[in-house]
């Protein structure tokens, strides 16, 4: 088992009705690696990310994390139990934060650990404080999400995911909904996680960030992984025309 990759996606395919959004995707991620997935909208990158934690289950193919198959074919009740278990190991951060508005920052972070890990109030409070310190939001612990800026909300959302001590973090366009001046504070937190060798898969439109932080970049288009490699290769010397086109358009858009 030790030879097996930390995360492995084998022959992944997904259709919504007649629409094929993922076509025969293979991907391995080693422990501590940081992988960026880039590509035009509708290329299937978010769907691939959401397949990893069974939010959008694959039509066919396999997803493995640390020796456990995530998308096991089980009878309904057993399947539910299984995904509830494995999802605890997979942190996810959403474009629109999805903080629980009826709970304070503390409540957002402690909800799942309290319910699922059987921790005491004291333990979950310490956990919340520790994770909020990590994202620089400790002083807002008793605020409601409606009292926070977008960047602050996303940092709390990251702390909420980290509080489950996940083995991997998935970021689904975590900075796309933010005002430009708020992007940096979230990027800093993600960079810090990278330095702590958190395994991360990041769907992003920020080429600069992908280039700086990631070990590997996947370019997806129309449901395929078109190109894959180190940031240097994918950004500076792409071999595929579609990658070149995309990067050209994207860089023009930014200038």
């Amino acid at each position: 088992m030790s030879d097996a990759p930390f995360i492995e996606i084998r022959n992944a395919a997904k259709s919504f009705g007649a629409l094929e959004v993922l076509k025969d995707i293979n991907l391995t991620v080693e422990k501590g690696q940081i992988v960026a997935i880039i590509g035009p909208s509708g290329s299937g990158k978010s769907t691939l990310l959401r397949a990893i934690n069974e939010l959008d289950p694959l039509t066919s193919g396999e997803v493995w994390l640390d020796g456990v198959q995530i998308n096991k074919d089980l009878p309904f009740r057993q399947y539910e139990k299984h995904v509830n278990q494995v999802r605890q190991d997979i942190g996810m951060v959403f474009q629109h934060f999805n903080l629980f508005p009826h709970l304070t920052v503390r409540g957002n972070i402690t909800l799942a650990p309290k319910m699922l890990k059987g921790l005491s109030d004291k333990e979950v409070n310490e956990l919340a404080e520790e994770q909020l310190k990590r994202v620089g939001m400790l002083e807002r612990i008793d605020y409601y999400p409606s009292q926070l800026s977008g960047g602050q909300k996303q940092r709390v959302a990251i702390a909420r995911a980290l509080a489950m001590k996940p083995k991997v973090m998935l970021f689904d366009e975590a900075t796309s909904a933010l005002d430009p001046e708020l992007v940096e504070e979230v990027n800093l937190v993600m960079k810090q996680l990278a330095e702590e060798h958190m395994t991360m898969i990041i769907v992003t439109h920020e080429m600069g960030f992908a280039q700086d932080v990631c070990d590997r970049v996947l370019f997806m288009d129309q449901g395929y992984v078109v190109e894959e490699g180190s940031p240097d290769i994918v950004f500076r010397n792409p071999t595929q025309d579609r990658t070149k086109d995309f990067l050209k358009k994207h860089l023009q858009g930014q200038n």
């Binding site: 509830n84 942190g91 995911a161």
Partner: protein, 218 residues
Amino acid sequence: MGLDFTVVPKFFDVIFIGVGWTVAITIAAGLLSFFGGIVFAVVALYGPLLVRLPFRLFAWLFMGTPLLLQLFLIYFGLIQIGIDLPAFVAGVVGLGLHFAVYNSELIQASILAVDKGQNEAARTLGLSRGQALRKVVIPQAVRAVIPPIGNNMIALLKDSALVSVIGVAELTLAAQQAIGRTFRPFEFYVTAAVCYYFINLALEAGLRRIERHIQLSR
């Protein structure tokens, strides 16, 4: 024969007890209608088909027929099948279930309107369907419909007068008892109306407090 409000103070004790019963019925039926409304909403949306269909019939029965008839049925009708409820309990059950059905309609729509991302975030953390519904979706759905549920509570308070017909000595029946002894309907109905008005003011103040309290957490 002119109006003479001086007879009213002699019946303060009767009126006072009537106010007590009205408040008690409103609180008990109000709580039943609130928590019953949540349970009904979950059953209507997520219950198995075999539960959902009889429930639709039940909801239709409560929304499509007069509350007065429902109270008669619960108090006088159920005895025939061996369910003999005290008048107060029958009144609370009738009013409570009637408004629970209305509250359930509000809460159902509100549950469906909660952003899908909320459920996804909860499930991603590892919460089960039931846990996500209970801890994340329903609390938000209920907060969103507190104002219209509050309106239902005010309607419930006013409709509590109907339970006088099954012999609960609440405010309206108390007024009638006083009238029976004094033959002064104007004075006592006005007195009862003033009492309802003040209970209503208190209820509205309470609802406003709740709304203010949840304002941040929405």
